[in-house]
């Protein structure tokens, strides 16, 4: 068993998994950057709000444009990097949405100069007074279930928004998956991340293989004696506290990839290599699209098998005592 665990086969598997992990992390970073640059979240939210509130007139104009002019919503627009050029927010709470909609609907009853909080009656009258349209119909249906209770009405409107946002999250995820595959394809071809070639290089070159295994070990080691910050989610953009990510690829890790990627030493005119190259790319694209969490999880499992197999040898090496303790601690803590 020890022979198997210490074998080059296991290190080869670790190397390939680690390459996939790093490529998936790079892919995630590019995705996040693109999402920020294109204001994808803000646009998706704008689409969702548009679907809910479009197609509705008010006595004074369009419901949707009045919604965006409402002080509660207008106040959320600010020229930060994570927003679109139009300043649409990336996030909106169900409560803020409901309060703005209720306020606008109540104005439909002609209570433009209303003083104090709105009442259920004002809201109901306002919804009825709206010209025929989707928002008016939806509001009347939502108010019907509130049985005259303003708080219940607000809750129903919040749920209406939440349901829409849940659908939007589904669209956003699907869209992100498509973008991920596109980015993974471009990344794979640009870097010539050919799984078959990577495997061959790792198999033939023990130095490259062991360098990669060392980097993989450093990433998965959990019982760190220093600051213990490994595995803590990080915030790549200090202006975006809402989107932490798992530790992105480090410089050392990226340099360990150098011998495995790139177009150097590749004869593109060699026609015989193209079928295997395309197959290697296909494997890489599929693997990268599975995402960093998948590969990190798998890497942890394979590394734990490796460290289990290595214990007897390590005990002779005083410098490895810490690693052994780390593995033990990790296992104990997991129980």
């Amino acid at each position: 068993m020890g022979g198997l665990f210490n074998s080059a086969v296991l290190d080869l598997a670790i190397g390939i998994i680690f390459v996939y992990l790093l490529m998936a992390l790079i892919c995630t970073t590019i995705n996040e950057w693109l999402a920020g640059l294109l204001g994808a979240r803000a646009k998706t939210l704008a689409n969702a709000i548009g679907q809910l509130l479009d197609n509705q007139k008010t006595p004074t104009g369009e419901f949707l444009s009045e919604f965006y002019s409402h002080p509660l919503i207008a106040g959320m627009k600010s020229p930060t990097r994570m927003e679109t050029s139009k300043g649409h927010p990336s996030y909106l709470s169900a409560r803020t949405f409901a309060m703005a909609v209720m306020d606008l609907a109540a104005k439909g009853s002609g209570n433009k100069e209303r003083i104090g909080a709105i009442t259920f009656r004002q809201l109901e009258e306002g919804a009825k007074a709206l010209p025929p349209g989707d928002v008016g119909n939806a509001l009347l249906a939502l108010l019907q279930n509130a049985e005259g209770d303003l708080q219940a009405a607000q809750k129903n409107i919040e749920d209406w928004f939440d349901d829409a946002m849940e659908r939007v999250s589904g669209w956003y995820k699907r869209k992100t998956q498509i973008v991920t595959v596109i980015v993974a394809t471009l990344l794979t071809i640009c870097t010539n991340a050919d799984t078959l070639r990577t495997g061959e290089t790792l198999w033939k070159n023990p130095t490259v293989r062991s360098a990669l295994v060392e980097q993989a070990k450093a990433r998965t080691e959990t019982a760190k004696e220093a600051s213990g910050v490994e595995n803590r989610a990080e915030y790549p953009d200090k202006d975006d506290p809402l989107n932490p990510v798992i530790k992105p690829a480090t410089k050392d890790e990226l340099s360990a990839l150098k011998p495995l990627l790139g177009w150097q030493d590749v004869n593109v005119r060699e026609g015989n290599e193209w079928p295997s190259r395309v197959l290697g790319w296909f494997l890489s694209i599929t693997a990268i699209s599975l995402g960093a969490p998948f590969w990190f999880d798998l890497l942890q499992k394979v590394m734990s098998i490796r460290s289990t197999g290595q214990k007897p040898e390590k005990s002779e090496d005083s410098s490895s005592g810490r690693q052994k303790t780390g593995a033990d601690t990790g296992g104990g803590g997991a129980q």
């Binding site: 600051s227 595995n231 506290p241 997991a334």
Partner: protein
């Protein structure tokens, strides 16, 4: 010490240590994590089962001037408590909310809102699984990991104004105020906490050891711009001890949570507008679900992901604590 007592002590002390170090597990639904990871507060219908009649006194540690209640809620589906901060001040909305709490019969339901908080301060012996039938709490402080702390709205009474100021004695003019843990002590503990997180397709389990240090007094210095979440404002900030504004207390900036419309949130806006120095604040730690949501795998060991809820901005001359006894 008699031999009998000595052997009892030999038996009990390790037991006590083991029970303190024992890790407890909380299992949350993935949907709950996703829904609340960038939320400051939660709205719920609280089935009120037990409550204190008088607020805790104001001092240090657990003497934090709150009034505790235990209950159950369909929105949470975990053993839980809720706390009205500054219950001793007795301003009108606080007084009214306490009056309402006392007048509410056991088992009756009240609308409540407040800051959600997951913290392994009072964990139970077994795993707490969200969605599993929650037993009726036997007292006002049952084993719990989830709490509403502080309550911002209770039965229609908006008490956010009294909840987001420094914890005071019997009145606002009372010179006696709460003595929080200094940053050096509190953040030393927070930073060293470990957790094991296991993720399935529908749930997230967090296993961590018991941890206290509810309130920390510290200086926060934003390192980036703030960003609105669904109902709060979030910012990444360096943390300093009041006695040493040069040495960060954390290995990297930590996420700070401000509830929209409160005094601390206003102070943050003002700070950003004026590009001013650090804010001297009182904060409560909670598990950072945005970071938890990033963890994948069946058993990942991580430093316990946490963030700080900023509950009060302190004036530099405000640190007038209760005399220690």
């Amino acid at each position: 010490m008699t031999p009998h007592r000595k052997s009892l002590a030999l038996f009990c002390v390790p037991l006590l240590i083991v029970s303190t170090l024992q890790a407890e597990t909380l299992t949350l639904s993935k949907k709950f994590v996703q829904d609340n990871k960038n939320r400051a507060t939660i709205d719920l219908k609280l089935e009120l089962d037990a409550h204190l009649n008088t607020p805790h006194k104001v001092g240090a540690g657990g003497d934090d001037g709150d009034v505790h209640m235990a209950g159950r809620s369909d929105q949470v589906r975990l053993p839980m408590v809720a706390e009205i901060i500054n219950a001793g001040i007795a301003d009108k909305p606080v007084k009214d909310s306490i009056g309402l709490m006392k007048a509410t019969p056991d088992g009756a339901t009240i609308d409540a809102s407040g800051v959600w908080r997951i913290w392994f301060e009072h964990p139970s012996k077994g795993t707490q699984i969200q969605g599993k039938k929650v037993p009726v709490p036997a007292n006002t402080n049952p084993d719990h990991v989830f709490e509403i702390h502080p309550i911002t709205k209770f039965g229609g009474f908006d008490i956010a104004d009294a909840s987001f100021v420094h914890i005071l004695g019997k009145s606002k003019n009372d010179s006696c105020s709460y003595h929080a843990y200094p940053a050096a002590k509190a953040f030393g503990e927070y930073e060293n906490q470990k957790a094991t997180i296991s993720v399935t397709s529908t749930s997230v389990s967090i296993t961590a050891k018991k941890v206290g240090f509810n309130y920390a007094e510290f200086l926060l210095d934003p390192v980036g711009k703030s960003k609105p979440g669904t109902d709060g404002i979030f910012v990444l900030a360096d943390v300093f001890d009041v006695s040493d504004p040069e040495t960060p207390m954390t290995s990297s900036p930590r996420r700070m949570v401000f509830v929209s419309g409160t005094k601390p949130a206003d102070a943050l806006k003002e700070l950003e507008k004026n590009k001013g120095g650090p804010l001297h604040v009182l904060g409560i730690p909670r598990v950072n679900l945005a970071e938890v949501a990033q963890v994948s795998g069946t058993q990942t060991d991580v430093p316990l992901p946490y963030e700080m809820i900023v509950v009060a901005v302190l004036a530099d001359d405000e640190a007038q604590f209760c005399p220690s006894k």
